[in-house]
Symmetry: D2
Subunit: 351 residues, 4 copies
């Protein structure tokens, strides 16, 4: 419903893969922030296409032009608008695809959602290209979080296909070491051998005219305790809200990793052979059953003795939680989970 995110800082994005420009507006940035334009461009470069054999050959410089809210090298506190011109959009590649729905893409759901008026070239507004404004804002956010709180954010490739990187102990990890090790790799993994195997998996996929998925692990260090809220803006809620807006994130909500095959049956009705995407493509329902799974942790209240802290006396204590508690919350959770689906759908469908 909305291409705007956030309350204290409102982030509005726009653009299509093959339109004149993509960009965003950041409303609510603090005044007087000296933007590190080198750092920002460096982050843009990590995402931009055409860098090596593992990415698309589309060439974009992804140069950011700031139009407002920035004066004498510092943010003014008024809305900061920025644009990135599209340069290498070969629209002719897509003319043939206007009516042929690419499996696994949002072509069909986008066509329905926008009543056939969406810019279909290169996925239009659904394109992964629209994540460039995320990275611009992400770079500004990283700079602020580091300067004001010492927060470090780092990520690695945890797996490609079935090849996994080594397990990391996040509690004992030194974020500066991690950053140093990972940030200069074009293919950031902890274990070099794992990286080599992963690249082989990608090469194999390409040689078979296929593609392959994987998992990213993201870690944040030195985040102050006490940030977030119980309802509805839990930290998990807000992070996952953003994550599931990123094209190609495999909904942890669904089961598999491959394209669904749609076809017309003998009576001319569109049907599907599979439901790998759990009923959602490009963030939009595709008419198949909407399926997701929610894991519930064991009830934390147990009568078994546990170690913990007493914050008044500032001492370590043993605790056996008395009183009445569920040994398993799952059976009672069903109507709650169903309610989440029903509420989210009602918000979209109420007339």
């Amino acid at each position: 419903m909305s291409s705007t995110w956030g309350n204290k800082i409102r982030f509005s994005i726009f653009g299509e893969s093959h339109g004149p420009a993509i960009g965003g507006v950041l409303d609510g940035l603090p005044p007087g922030m000296e933007l590190d334009m080198d750092f920002i461009q460096q982050q843009m470069d990590r995402r931009k296409p055409g860098q090596d054999r593992f990415s698309t050959k589309r060439k974009e410089t992804d140069q950011v032009e700031i139009l407002s809210g920035f004066f004498e090298g510092k943010t003014t506190g008024t809305p900061l608008a920025f644009i990135i011109r599209n340069e290498d959009n070969r629209s002719r590649d897509y003319a043939a695809l206007k009516s042929k729905m690419r499996p696994g893409h949002a072509d069909w759901t986008g066509h329905l959602r926008y009543q056939g008026y969406n810019d279909y070239r290169g996925g239009g507004h659904f394109s992964g290209r629209i994540t460039a404004p995320f990275v611009f804002y992400g770079a500004v956010a990283k700079q602020y979080l580091l300067e004001n709180y010492g927060i470090q954010i780092v990520s690695r490739i945890a797996s490609i296909g079935n090849v996994e990187d080594e397990v990391l102990d996040h509690l004992s990890a030194d974020p500066l070491e991690l950053l140093k090790k990972l940030k200069n790799q074009p293919f950031p993994v902890m274990e070099e051998a794992a990286g080599t195997s992963m690249k082989q998996v990608i090469d194999d996929a390409r040689n078979q005219q296929d593609s392959v998925g994987g998992v990213v692990e993201c870690m944040g260090f030195h985040i102050p305790a006490g940030v977030g809220s119980p309802f509805f803006d839990s930290l998990e809620s807000t992070i996952s809200h953003l994550i599931f807006s990123v094209p190609a994130t495999k909904a942890a909500l669904k089961g598999s990793q491959a394209n669904d095959v749609f076809y017309y049956d003998e009576e001319g009705r569109m049907q599907a052979k599979t439901n790998h995407n759990g009923g959602i493509q490009g963030g939009i329902s595709n008419g198949l059953p909407l399926v997701f799974r929610v894991a519930f942790k064991p009830t934390p209240s147990i009568s078994k003795e546990q170690e913990t802290v007493d914050i008044e006396n500032k001492e370590n204590v043993a605790l056996s939680i008395q009183g009445r508690h569920d040994p398993c919350i799952v059976p009672r959770a069903l109507p709650v989970v169903e309610s989440c689906m029903a509420i989210a759908l009602l918000e979209e469908l109420v007339i």
Copy 2:
């Protein structure tokens, strides 16, 4: 930041486990909707405590009192406020826990977030009890979705501990059959034998003064295609936003299912032995590394020939996608994932 969710219908919730009442306000319901109060109470009863040996012994009738927005049996279109009085809150059980932080609970993060002023009894506003208003609204939503779109929402216990229910083929499943089979079971599974084993796992946990987690699978049928948006309100984004507000949903974002042990070290600083909750408890950061994993599906654009539909000619066609595409999107996705974490944190932490 906000206990209000939704735009077209704003849902505001309130209440603490041991306060006088919990409830909510629904602003934007269509006027003239005849609420099926029996169905609503039946849904409330599915969630309410004290029903069998698998749940807490707290007894609540969970009777809903509607205070406004409801006139002569129908919604008026003005805000509908409802409350549920708390009846069986034995606050004395909790006096001892004021300063002893229960592991795996939001006691400590809540204490920090609300500067020590939160109602700690029974988890206060973090209590699973606050999901009762979800279920009230969920029942209203289900009624509307069924009456206006024929949408059926049904869920089952997919696993408890390591015991899994049978695999379901959602494409061929008949929702009415599913509903009939599942809705009258207090312990809804497809396969009776699996249910028996699951109950045994729960009994074992309780006998060991422990608890156990599991997975719920939720399915929606007859959802019209074309519902949702690419940014930022993808259908996955809005469902997951709500799901991660439900206490005890194991963040699909983190790794394990058990309580973290905090302790004071020799110099009186609080430390943790584990980071099973990935740095978030009750939706709030606990000061440990914030860790989550995001799966990316294989790039859907592949040059290999695939079957698909041509929506203009309404025919089945073979498609080999030419042009330039990434064989694997994962390496370029890292800065985007990091940006999501940075943006979500900045929204909380900007001064």
Copy 3:
């Protein structure tokens, strides 16, 4: 569209004049605030009906019951929900009015807006009674503003009918003197003689089975400079947004002060004899021309020499603004004013 106001603190109101209760939810109050319940009740009493011969005889104690977010005398930081039970609602008075549209009331616009399902008794959700939750929240806000910033807010009756209170010099006024003088008057004016005349005007109106309007002047002292924003949340914008939600505020947007007479013409179409309400009743369009007037101040840029301050050198200077400026902005303002009307209507009417 929305019964929720505010971002940092979300205020949700609900209730009907003759329903079981009215109330609100305050989400985002700081934790640890010790609410002064005596002060709050005293403010509620200033607004409540049945106090003297100048107000309705409906008797309400307007006792506030807090349901959540308040623990051991202090706010918890979680949503604070409060209700006020309706006690003296004689619904039989209103049965006869179900289909007879009271002139000047929102009976007809409410009927249309809510498709005939609104609770029509006593104006339902449009009743002035719904301002009681405003006053509760206002009292909490006043307490916070005084304790944290020393802000004093005081108001007086500036006129009733054509009788005006004396002119006040706000720059030299002492807010504590003003408060002392005004707060203990049931009929707060500066000049006693003016008050006596005003009361006579009201008595005359009542004796003629009529009513009379007037003007309130509200003053805030010790408000820090630098609060507000240029777009769209100018301090005038947010105050006027709230003010125009209060039933019976005469839209400064329209021209007169009396009821409009609707009638059926010979062909059974509803027509109006007057358009005193400028096309809006109860916040909702009534189908008559929507008319408002906007005053523009003289362009502040003038080349005539003016006195002002130089904030760098901290000195008083004379200033003659050179450059290019409009001697009168009004002619160019027309399309902007029209745009405001068009934008506000589109937000409501877009399909």
Copy 4:
């Protein structure tokens, strides 16, 4: 707090008078709308500077460049971003004004609000130039409202200084006649003689190196009845919210029309000689008493017999409202009005 307005359609604006460009993002426009670019440019031209002797000599073509959300001449339904390059910004004119606060402008309040980092040239983000994006969106809105509802919006100059145009009977006015008469006038008034006198008033002001204000009357015809809401989004609330964001609208909230003179007193404290702006400049508090007046209409419930309609029997009836009602609501309204001020301030000032 926010440069974004609207829910169903979010309008985000950005830009400074002397920055590279100003513009906006429109998120939520319906797909498939064929924008009438000639009509849009014609509306832009009505507002643009440099047209005749009554406006500033700054020359801007105000050509709109659409960057996204627009494909093959139609809206796509995805965010439509547009920019207007600034061309004739002579920044040198403003260098001298960096520290000298122009009376009546937002120079000082903007300096405080943005901690000295705002772009001060030409008023920066406070400039009337930022209304160009309003007019672009207004033109799109007018086109939609006319095509879908037959709504006509027209305005005129109602007064300049003390010279008033003739009184208009809005009920009997023919909107097409009005439009025809007014839309081709560069100086739109009903009565030619009044227009001539008004122009003389402007010429006189300019000759005296001064400026003059006035009043715009805006009229909307064929607006369907039933549009708007009681709380908080009354139609008056949303229109006034936008109107008071327009620079130079004289707050109907305050009393006079001239610049306030600030000075440093002998002890170096900034003081004011007058409070003509009622404590608000550029939407931001200036530290002087915040003063506004609110008119209340006579209580519409009167026992005197009135004519009205019975919508059930569809007949004209006489009505004498029995029951209990206030002969004058003003004395009870004081705490409500104060609450509006307190609530608006708390939203800004809560920590």
